[in-house]
């Protein structure tokens, strides 16, 4: 999309790629899509990133329906290769739960949570590998933008396809994890036990305010770091891909170099993408395990 005529600057190109398709309430009270990053910002909290949500829900549904189909068409004898692969992912989630979840508590939700988190985050991260301009370009064409708009300053169709580069998505999942931590803490230890844990540890009842502050920070830091870690990794990856993509408009020599750089960065991310999904899943299990343990 970065054209050679200089109409679309590098900064503009980057900004365009980092803006979500936002639907929300305009300052004048009407609802609609934001037509620029500034407009999206003005909407404040009462707005939703349509692209992030659609890709996130879509990829989640792909995961659920695909795996449900494998579960339904399970063949005991002579399983297909894809069935064996899916099976091993189930087994992987189960093993992760067995190895990291406290053996003192029983919770049938942990393994399905682990499976959901791992595969969903993996699918969302995998969108990172899709060449950076393909899907936004397709969206712009479908939206009826002319080529001069796309390649010029008139580009106004926003489409971020990697949900995990949106902090709303990663922090949203982390928020769910926080809710589950609190829920299971109260369920296992009772409301009193949970409050006691927050107030009387680690320095005893005499230093109650200090304890409360320390434990509350620790409690909130868990999901915050969980969400920000995933967001940071994927956001950085996306940014580098955008920067590399800008070289494609700078002549054939630099562009060729950029092509190799993109390939190298993509290969590197074959490692990073499942690793981040794994870390998110593992930490979710560990945090929930801690919620089930008595201190």
């Amino acid at each position: 999309m970065a054209s050679g005529n200089g109409e679309l600057t590098g900064a503009g190109y980057i900004k365009h790629h980092l803006t979500n398709l936002t639907f929300g309430q305009h300052p004048d009270g009407t609802w609609g899509f934001a037509h620029s990053a500034a407009e999206a910002k003005e909407m404040g909290f009462m707005a939703i990133h349509v692209d992030s949500m659609l890709w996130s829900i879509g990829l989640g549904l792909v995961f659920l329906l695909l795996f449900k189909r494998f579960a339904k068409g399970f063949k005991k004898e002579q399983p297909s290769r894809s069935q064996v692969a899916v099976e091993s992912i189930f087994q992987f989630a189960q093993d992760s739960k067995n190895s990291s979840f406290t053996p003192h508590a029983k919770n049938n939700y942990i393994a399905p949570i682990a499976l959901t988190v791992f595969v969903w985050v993996l699918f969302m991260n995998l969108m990172d590998i899709v060449p950076i301009d393909w899907l936004p370009l397709l969206a712009a064409v479908l939206n009826g933008e002319s080529w001069s708009q796309i390649s010029g300053t008139g580009a106004h169709t926003y489409m971020k396809v990697v949900p995990t580069t949106d902090p709303n998505i990663t922090l949203g999942m982390a928020l769910s994890v926080l809710v589950m931590i609190v829920y299971y803490s109260i369920k296992v230890k009772g409301a009193g036990g949970f409050v006691k844990e927050l107030a009387f540890q680690p320095f005893g009842p005499k230093l109650l305010p200090f304890n409360l502050l320390l434990e509350t920070v620790a409690l909130l830091a868990k999901p915050l770091s969980l969400g920000l870690r995933l967001f940071g990794n994927l956001y950085a990856a996306e940014l580098i891909f955008i920067l590399i993509a800008m070289t494609f408009s700078a002549g054939i020599g630099v562009g060729l170099l950029g092509g190799f750089a993109q390939m190298g960065w993509a290969i590197f991310h074959i490692l990073v993408i499942p690793l981040q999904a794994y870390i998110f899943m593992m930490l979710t299990i560990v945090y929930l395990s801690q919620a089930h343990e008595h201190h």
Partner: protein, 159 residues
Amino acid sequence: MNINLTLLGQSITFFLFVWFCKKYVWPPMMDAIEARQKEIADGLAAAEQGQKAQEVAEKEAAELVAKAKTQAAEIIASAEKRGNAVVEEAQETANSEKTRILDSAQSEVDQQVFAAREELRGQVSSIAVAAASKIAEKEIDESAHAALIEDLVQQLKAS
């Protein structure tokens, strides 16, 4: 990079997906996997049991074969012994029968020889008497023939 309703949307979606996964995706798959694992474990256990049973059966069969072999050897040995005994017995019977038959034949022959000799003796005496009476009818020359007769009688006695 704005924090907005997407945060809550994703959070709610997360719970819905976990619920769906727990209810419709996880149990059928895990049940199927566990059922197969159990089947495999059962099969392996059965195979092990079968192997053990086979080993026992092989041992038993080997014992039976060994027993049968010794029995067969015993039977053969006793049969040989019996056979030898039978042959010996038969030989003995045959021998005694032979001697008995020979003895009886000998005695019969002796008897017949004796009888024949007695008959001959009688016939010779009568022939001699007849011959003597015939000679006596022709010429009675006791002096001339007495020696002759005596000689004849002596000869008959000797035979």
